[in-house]
């Protein structure tokens, strides 16, 4: 779900753009402080466009507001020896069969199939998190 507003790129439309954006942020449940920070960031971008983007009057700005989908997160915790899988050299997948060692592909495959891998050591635990983002059609893209 996303909404859009398109107006001429002039300072006179600043408030209307910002109202549109803060309403969207409030609906998504951001706290007032965060909404204010988001508003400031949006103002900075808009004022720059108003001031610098067009050499002649008549230019427009479109603002699209919405959210992306939540990611799936899978977190693995163990209290084994400290091991950061991200510190491993990736295997040489261009090597021919005779130069291939047995093993060493597991972490590499996991990395290829997930959108993100994060590792941290916390107290005496290894915490590894995999994240997968659904690629939905109806969302605002970056």
């Amino acid at each position: 779900m996303f909404s859009q507003i398109t107006l001429p790129a002039t300072l006179g439309n600043l408030r209307q753009f910002l109202d549109f954006i803060t309403t969207c942020a409030e609906k998504q449940g951001f706290c007032p402080k965060r909404v204010s920070q988001i508003e400031l960031a949006a103002e900075e971008v808009l004022v720059n466009i108003f001031s610098y983007a067009y050499s002649e009057p008549g230019g427009e700005v479109s603002v699209t507001c919405g959210s992306d989908s939540a990611r799936l997160l899978i977190r693995f915790e163990d209290s084994g020896i400290p091991f950061d899988p991200l510190s491993k050299e990736p295997p040489d997948v261009t090597a021919d069969v005779s130069e291939r060692g047995i093993g060493g592909l597991g972490i590499f495959l996991a990395g290829k199939f997930m959108d993100e891998i994060h590792y941290r050591r916390e107290k005496d635990r290894n915490i590894l998190t995999l994240a997968a983002a659904p690629k939905a059609e109806s969302e605002v893209s970056l």
């Binding site: 600043l14 508003e39 004022v47």
Partner: protein, 110 residues
């Protein structure tokens, strides 16, 4: 945005209420500049009821600070709300602005 001022000894105390954004900043800038001229030395800006400031507002404050500097005066802020204070801090303005918890403590420093 609402602006007020009064004289207090060598200083001028300005209070600004509401929002300073790109729309209101030009008036704020002009007002601050005039008050900086009027002041013998320093300017205290009470921000108790200022809820929002963006880079356009920072520019106004910077301009007035430079002006005061010429007559060896200071820009002093008092009763700055958390969100507004954060903007000043991120921009590194706390390096050359004095920020006070109360207007009174600002005036005592002059």
């Amino acid at each position: 945005m609402e602006l007020n001022s009064r004289k207090e000894g060598d200083a001028v105390v300005v209070s600004v209420k509401g929002r300073v954004d790109a729309l209101t900043a030009p008036d704020f800038e002009k007002y601050l500049s005039e008050q900086a001229d009027k002041s013998e030395k320093s300017l205290v800006v009470n921000m108790k009821e200022l809820y929002y400031i963006s880079s356009a507002g920072l520019r106004a404050v910077l301009g007035a600070t430079k002006k005061l500097k010429e007559k060896r005066g200071d820009m002093m802020l008092a009763e700055v709300q958390e969100t507004v204070r954060e903007v000043f801090e991120i921009a590194g303005f706390n390096k050359f602005l004095k920020i006070f918890d109360t207007e009174k403590s600002a005036l005592e420093q002059i």
